[in-house]
């Protein structure tokens, strides 16, 4: 089994090479004539006002919280799904109860307004 991961390691190497080589070639052959105006932040010709790295909308944060909860729970469903056909009927019912609890959590977040974009 371990040798299957050699393949992954080698394609990872290739991926890195294929991403890095064009950048290196680019830095060698491309012209480099920076000036103050060219290096300014692009805002359709207007001068930039204020800092970019400020607090952003809290809604993004709430979505990522809900995401973490659901993503972890989906990971629990994977082993259940793989072994599904060998499981006794009891485990099937348990799985369905788990999904219903998941749906309950979704309903809670929904009713609390966490899923509304305002």
């Amino acid at each position: 089994m371990a040798h299957e991961w050699i393949f992954i390691g080698i394609i990872l190497l290739f991926g890195t090479i294929f991403a890095a080589v064009p950048l290196v070639v680019n830095t060698i052959v491309a012209p480099k004539k920076p000036n103050v105006l060219k290096n300014e932040t692009y805002e359709c010709g207007m001068e930039t006002v204020g800092d970019t790295w400020i607090q952003f909308k809290v809604q993004y944060y709430i979505f990522s919280l809900v995401f973490v909860i659901f993503d972890v729970e989906i990971v629990f469903l994977f082993p259940w799904a793989v072994a599904y056909k060998q499981l006794p009927f009891f485990a099937v019912v348990e799985g369905v109860i788990f999904i219903v609890i998941l749906a309950g959590g979704l309903l809670y977040a929904w009713r609390k307004g966490a899923l509304d974009w305002v």
Partner: protein, 333 residues
């Protein structure tokens, strides 16, 4: 051991080369199909029927100056395109392109490898792909880019849940996470799209959203964000983002083919294993055409509609699909 390393090197080089060619001609095909659907001619100057256009584009981009905005975080700005590109290539490693063949006295897998945790691997790598986009948006020190990056990350994590749930159906039917195993299970039953029509639909929609393709291309909505998270990028870094996006298109099409449309299966494939690659390519190209067609047909969604659709429609449907699959397997067997 040496044999395995040589095999891996040859196969990785081949796959990476095929992916880059596919990227080049996918951009060409998209422009040509868009032109035909809009009754234009499209690129037709460079070479016969414009066939050398991708090469010309590549040469042009590699000679372009790279502008680094003054306020940017230099390290992250440089890393972001690489981080977008690597997962796009690495993700195809577990996709089987055909049954095993005998070559030079060795049994060779068509496709790079086959992990017993293949689908988990795909989900994991797909999650890594978000980082490149977020970092690109953050490091540019540009408000358009920051908004694009934030939108992209929120959208990708929202649809990732539906994506993860939609592939549970094929896993339950096949009883394995290995993609080769799932294809072989489809040989003995039938294409899983017949058992999992809802799952296949959810996978395709969520896949489009993961790719930030139209109609889910809010992160790069030209009218409001100029180019979204890669506004400040130019030259080869810009084209690495493009490459990443198009190679991911190929990857999602290939995964959809494998999970729901029988992968490399087709008539006579057990006698002539090399035929599998052809069937696989035909099905994948079909999905790519579908993606281009959708982009040219549907208008872009509004951002609140997009999030509402992901959480309030797609996610409940995906949960429902898992329950229905579980019940049907119990009663039908």
């Amino acid at each position: 051991m040496i044999g395995i390393v040589i095999e891996a090197l040859i196969k990785s080089a081949l796959i990476a080369f095929v992916l880059l060619t596919a990227f080049a001609y996918l951009t060409f095909a998209e422009r040509k199909i868009a032109a035909l659907m809009q009754v234009r001619k499209g690129p037709n100057r460079v070479g016969p029927w414009g066939l050398l256009q991708p090469a010309a584009d590549g040469i042009k981009l590699i000679f372009k100056e790279e502008v680094m905005p003054a306020g940017a975080d230099k390290v992250l700005f440089f890393l972001a395109p690489i981080l977008t590109m690597i997962p796009a290539i690495v993700i195809v490693a577990v996709i089987p392109l055909g049954p095993d063949v005998e070559l030079f006295g060795r049994t060779i897998r068509l496709g790079i490898t086959d992990l017993n945790v293949g689908l988990l691997y795909i989900l994991a790598i797909a999650s890594v792909a978000v980082y490149g986009i977020v970092l690109a948006g953050w490091s540019s020190a540009n408000k358009y880019a920051l908004l694009g990056g934030l939108r992209a990350s929120a959208q990708m994590i929202s649809y990732e849940i539906a994506l993860g749930l939609s592939i549970i159906g094929p896993i339950m039917l096949a009883g394995t996470l290995s993609l080769q195993g799932i294809v072989q299970a489809q040989q003995s039953s039938t294409w899983y799209v017949l058992w999992q029509p809802l799952g296949a639909m959810i996978f395709l929609i969520a896949g489009l959203a993961e790719l930030n393709r139209a109609p889910f291309d809010m992160p790069e909505a030209e009218q409001e964000l100029t180019a979204g998270y890669f506004t400040e990028y130019s030259g080869m870094k810009f084209s690495l983002f493009f490459m990443g996006e198009y190679i991911k298109m190929v990857a999602v099409s290939a995964i959809a083919t494998t999970l729901f449309f029988g992968g490399y299966l087709g008539p006579f494939v057990d006698k002539l294993p090399w035929l599998g690659i052809l069937y696989f390519a035909i099905k994948t190209v079909g999905f790519l055409f579908l993606m281009i067609w959708i982009r040219l047909t549907l208008p872009r969604l509004r951002y609140d509609q997009l999030m509402a659709f992901g959480w309030k429609v797609l996610l409940p449907l995906a949960l429902f699909n898992v329950v229905i699959t579980a019940v049907v397997i119990v009663f039908v067997g």
